[in-house]
């Protein structure tokens, strides 16, 4: 009789411990989940990005204040060369839908024609004309769009420090009349809101 009680007590104790562990684990995961108001959810990737090996990257969107950029995590396909990786990053930036409450910094429908990386840590990003047409106007929209492209390359591909934007294979003075694009641009930290 005593031995039976001991077995029952051991089983009950094991069940309580197991239940407690399960509850603790579930609660812990819930507590560790990101709070939507403070940190954006991962950016919705382009359909092709889900296949094959990938890297953890940061894409850039317009912050809730409307005047700065804010980074959001995303998975971007792994590529073998810096040029191909830079192109994959820009493709992801152009295709990604912004997580709430962020907004798109680059025009929808624009595509990247190619990315060329030089031995001097510069990258040349060749975008199509839809990038300009979709901007509308205003210096701030132009600033944020240009620096979203610059930031996504320089942040995720550390050897690259400067990015020059080309349109339809050609060097341009500006996109819509404001930002000087005749030289490669460096990342502009003053335009980027720190991630909470």
């Amino acid at each position: 009789m005593t031995g039976r009680r001991v077995v029952i007590a051991a089983v009950v104790a094991a069940a309580v411990v197991t239940l407690g562990w399960l509850m603790f684990e579930a609660l812990g995961r819930r507590l560790a989940a990101p709070i939507p108001d403070q940190e954006p959810a991962p950016a919705a990737p382009a359909p092709a990005a889900a296949r094959g090996p990938h890297i953890a990257a940061t894409l850039y969107f317009i912050a809730e204040d409307g005047v700065t950029l804010q980074g959001a995590p995303a998975e971007v396909p792994l590529r073998e060369t810096p040029g191909a990786q830079a192109q994959a990053l820009v493709e992801a930036q152009l295709a990604a839908e912004p997580p709430a409450p962020l907004a798109r910094a680059v025009p929808a429908g624009a595509t990247v024609r190619g990315v060329y990386v030089t031995g001097r840590d510069d990258a040349y990003v060749d975008l199509d004309g839809a990038f300009v047409k979709g901007l509308g106007g205003g210096s701030h929209r132009e600033l944020l769009a240009a620096y979203a492209i610059v930031s996504v390359v320089t942040t995720n591909l550390t050897p690259i420090t400067r990015v020059q934007i080309l349109i339809d294979g050609r060097e341009v003075e500006t996109l819509t009349g404001h930002v000087d694009l005749r030289e490669p641009l460096r990342k502009n930290e003053t335009l980027i809101r720190p991630t909470p």
């Binding site: 204040d65 005047v67 509308g136 106007g137 205003g138 210096s139 929209r141 930002v179 000087d180």
Partner: protein, 506 residues
């Protein structure tokens, strides 16, 4: 004369001499201790004529005797010994001041002054600002202080700004007067001087020193308020005067002074000596209405175009600067035309502008974003160093008449770099002036690599006057009243910047 009479006479003479000496020494000591070198007088110019007022320097600033101001402008003064106040009155209007206090009650309003009225040696002294802001309310007329010409202009008088330059060669000299707003002039020879008479009530002239040579000895204000005098030298034989129109707002009078048998400077070799009016003056402002022609810029949800709003605000600002400061103002476009970015800076550079202000309206993805912003250029240090490395320090060019002339070549890409500090100052002044009148964006002053600012060889800023993408702000930006408010804020900032430039170095 008896012996006692001679003795008496000697005593009287010695006493008188001692008294004179003592008085002179006391006066000299008082002036040197109290004021240091005496500053140039300030002249009150009104419809009744003009009167020169003595200026004292206190704490580094100009002060005028309130008694002198009252005499010049027909004010009565009354001291109240019980309250320690002084009342200025004219025609039933009045103001009450208390020495050492920055706030003055004038016509029921409180006026805050940068420097208070002071009592010195039993008399009240006030700043030119007191006259423009307090006395103007009492006499019910606008009073403007023209710092360069040291004029207090009372009422709506025509007082054009005149910037004088000179060039001198061996047998010829050329004096150029840029007059804003454009004004009729005549030049007459009278003995050993040439008198330039302007069709105006008075002249606000920035007159430089004349280098030693034999054709021209001095340029000075004339005996009447609307004249300037060129005192000619012993080698002067004849003169020739021509008038040129620079633009709608400025005329140029060129006076050639010739020695016997000489030809004018424009036909002779380039000048050997150049008389510069000085680096600190603001003479020409270029305003750049953003976009235009094929480039609409951004468009508000109600259809308001950026290129239209920027031109309207620019025209209002031009009228304010010309009318109130008398400066030369040039618009890069005064109609709906396409200009590329380099053309805009080139207009400023070719006209030797002292200030470049590009006017734009903004747009944001989020329609809730609103407010004005001011930008000045930011520069990539690495590319800057590579550009400066290839810049030539100077180059010798051959000149007509033989010899060479050294000129500094400034790369277009580096033109703005030398002015970045002043551009930042200007941006800060504009931000402050705009904030007092309109809403500012969350990022009111920023640096950005804006193309139009790169080649400007003078302090330069780009002002975003508001967001057309915000529906309410679009309506405001399209209204005349709001455009006037913005233009006035920009005018205030440019006036403050000009005052900084013209303030004597400490």
């Amino acid at each position: 004369m008896t012996r006692s009479a001679r003795y008496h006479d000697r005593v009287v003479r010695r006493t008188a001499a001692a008294l004179c000496l003592a008085l002179t020494l006391a006066a000299v000591a008082r002036v040197s201790l109290a004021q240091g070198p005496s500053p140039a007088p300030i002249t009150v110019v009104s419809a009744q004529g003009r009167r020169s007022l003595t200026v004292a320097t206190v704490n580094g600033g100009d002060y005028l005797s309130l008694d002198d101001v009252a005499t010049a402008l027909g004010l009565t003064l009354r001291d109240d010994r019980v309250t320690g106040t002084t009342t200025l009155a004219a025609g039933g209007r009045s103001a009450v001041l208390t020495p050492d206090r920055n706030v003055v009650s004038a016509q029921g309003r409180l006026v805050s002054l940068a420097a208070p009225p002071l009592r010195q040696d039993g008399r009240l002294i006030v700043t030119p600002e007191f006259v423009t802001r307090v006395v103007s309310l009492v006499i019910d007329r606008r009073v403007e202080f023209r710092r360069a010409g040291r004029l207090l202009v009372v009422g709506d008088l025509r007082v054009p700004r005149v910037v004088v330059r000179g060039e001198f060669a061996q047998n010829a000299a050329q004096v150029t007067l840029d007059i804003s707003p454009a004004t009729d002039t005549t030049v007459t020879a009278a003995g050993s001087q040439l008198v330039v008479t302007l069709g105006a009530d008075a002249v606000d002239a920035a007159i430089p020193m004349v280098p030693v040579q034999g054709l021209l000895q001095q340029i000075r204000p004339g005996d009447t308020p609307n004249t300037l005098v060129l005192a000619t030298g012993p080698r002067f034989a004849s003169h020739r005067a021509t008038v040129q129109a620079i633009d709608a707002g400025t005329s140029r009078l060129v006076i050639d002074l010739l020695a016997a048998g000489a030809e004018s400077l424009s036909a002779a070799a380039p000048p050997a000596i150049t008389m510069d009016p000085g680096p600190g003056l603001l003479r020409t402002v270029v305003i750049d209405p953003g976009h235009g022609g094929d480039a609409n810029g951004t468009e508000g949800p109600g259809g308001t175009l950026e290129k239209t709003v920027t031109l309207q605000v620019s025209r209002r600002l031009k009228a304010l600067i010309e009318g109130r400061l008398g400066l030369r103002v040039i618009l890069t476009r005064d109609d709906d035309r396409t200009l590329d970015q380099d053309q805009r800076a080139a207009i400023a550079n070719n006209n030797r502008a002292d200030l470049f202000v590009s006017i734009h309206a903004n747009a944001a993805v989020r329609p809730t974003v609103k407010g004005a912003e001011v930008y000045y250029l930011n520069v990539d240090r690495a590319s800057l160093e590579s550009r400066l490395a290839v810049q030539q320090p100077g180059q010798a060019l051959p000149q007509l008449g033989g010899g060479t002339r050294s000129i500094d070549l400034i790369l277009w890409e580096t033109a703005q770099l030398r002015h970045l500090e002043q551009s930042a100052t200007l941006a800060s002044l504009i931000e402050g002036a705009l904030r007092a009148k309109v809403e500012m964006s969350p990022s009111p002053v920023q640096q950005a690599p804006f193309r139009v600012l790169v080649g400007a060889n003078m302090p330069a800023v780009l002002v975003e006057i508001g967001y057309l993408s915000h529906p309410d702000e679009e309506k405001a930006l399209a209204s005349a009243a709001h455009q006037d408010t913005i233009a006035l804020a920009l005018f205030d900032a440019i006036s403050a910047f000009r005052a900084r430039l013209e303030r004597p170095a400490p």
